[in-house]
Symmetry: C2
Subunit: 262 residues, 2 copies
DNA sequence: ACCAATGGTTCAAATAATGAACCGATAAGC
DNA sequence: GCTTATCGGTTCATTATTTGAACCATTGGT
């Protein structure tokens, strides 16, 4: 592994639970030598990718990442496009909606919208890591990812987030088959108890799955009416988002409305 | 300069005018060897910091920067906090407002809000680089930056964006003196013709200037009333933003309302 | 006063980065 | 239709950078 990868990998240890990391912690987390970590962090600091919080203390992500993110949005405006879609979907379903994107081998929740109808709602955080086996978004992605990727995701111990989480890889694979034919994934209490979530995969310009769009509702609010409305609205919103970002679904993806001439 | 810095510096060649860069162009821009650039870009690509646009073509920024930016916002939520302030300031003044942040030795416009009152307005782009001598934001920052930084910014040829741009460093320094006593910078047509902009500096937790908050209006709309309202509203908004991000102005900053007891 | 952390530093040894030349493919120039 | 230039990508001996064990100086806990 090259030096640059090592440095950038250090950045992956930052997450919502750990927004600041000290030198020693980072050394332990990465398994690298302390002098190495120090030099890499110093260099990252010089470039503005990290900064030291209070005088001489722990490191946290720096301001430079904001500039890059703004430029990424300028060239591939998926987040700004998704905001409208999420807002509309949230208004239509009355529930929390979120978009997650595949980044390397992990799935990150990156944008969300809340219901304006109900006081109680499922709460979300951006940049949260979603597991593939335990969330509807993860399942939607796996169902349309290539087999090697699926193996990589399932050939490791699957954590049980709740006692409803499916942790048997064989059962997960069965679910994926059903999702492939229906085009829609569900998870009832698999990630957080009492949350029923639906998700559809999002495809990029080269027909690869790049993430998932999801609706997360409290189980208690899933009336028969909602069980019809949410999947329908989600399919529509997914198709809208895919077309807005210039993506297209692969031939294997079940089309809601096959184009028929007459 | 270390390898990591070289790799990260490659990312600085991306901007709004150049969201995609080919290998050869990047080689010329950076002055590095082509093999070096290739290897660095490959590594950046492996980490998701860049990606290749269409099959095998030019590079553009990758999705990983979005995750980092979301985490940065989680630890230092200046952008989300600023959005409200910008929205309110824009509504109050009826003009375009924007926030720029100092990143390394450059000033980037990172968030903005448009007027909902007028059809014509000054347009903005996020992640745009602002010059220090030619914009009100730049002047506001320089006026409260340390002398070494000011020298670095002014001891180089100052570009003329319009024929109203002040390019004489001595005159700029005079302006800085006035800004220090008033606490507010102005630029009439210095960056774009027919745009009158006002700006106030934004200070961080350690009393250093970290950016500027600005209002940009068409010259034609700067009535006497607006000339009073905008500075007043801007000062209020600046103070609000500073307090919301846990910052504080240095003692040298002229306080709008000196706290007086009784 | 001690011990165990922390962030930061040193320097010889080991390793990874470098750059000139080279490839095959594509596209422009004549 | 032949030549030439440019593109993204690759090779490999030379070179310069990274590495890691040990070492400081501070800090905070007992």
């Amino acid at each position: 592994m090259g030096t640059v990868s090592k440095a950038l990998n250090l950045l992956t240890y930052f997450n919502h639970g750990r927004t600041e990391i000290g030198l020693s912690d980072l050394t332990r987390l990465s398994g690298l030598n302390k002098a190495t970590v120090f030099r890499l962090m110093t260099e990252l600091q010089d470039c503005g990718f990290v900064e030291q919080a209070n005088g001489d203390r722990a490191y946290r992500l720096g301001p430079q990442v904001l500039r890059l993110a703004a430029l990424r949005e300028a060239s591939v405006p998926i987040l700004s496009v998704s905001r409208r879609v999420l807002r509309d979907l949230s208004d239509e379903t009355g529930e929390t909606t979120h978009l997650s994107l595949l980044q390397g081998d992990q799935l990150n929740s990156l944008s969300h919208a809340y219901s304006r109808r109900h006081a109680t709602k499922v709460m979300m955080e951006d940049a949260e890591v979603l597991t593939f086996h335990g969330t509807s978004s993860g399942l939607a992605v796996l169902a349309f990812a290539d087999p090697g990727f699926v193996d990589g995701a399932l050939n490791q111990p699957l954590a049980a987030h709740t006692n409803a989480t499916v942790t048997d890889p064989n059962i997960v694979r069965e679910q994926l088959g059903l999702i492939r034919t229906s085009g829609l994934a569900q998870s009832i209490g698999g990630f957080e108890a009492d949350v029923h979530s639906h998700a559809v995969p999002i495809f990029g310009p080269n027909r690869d799955v790049i993430g998932a769009l999801a609706v997360a509702a409290p189980v208690s609010r899933m009336s028969d009416q909602q069980k019809e409305l949410i999947p329908a609205a989600l399919r529509r919103a997914g198709a809208a988002l895919i077309s807005r970002i210039g993506g297209s679904a692969p031939a294997s993806y079940p089309q809601a409305e096959p184009p028929h001439s007459n």
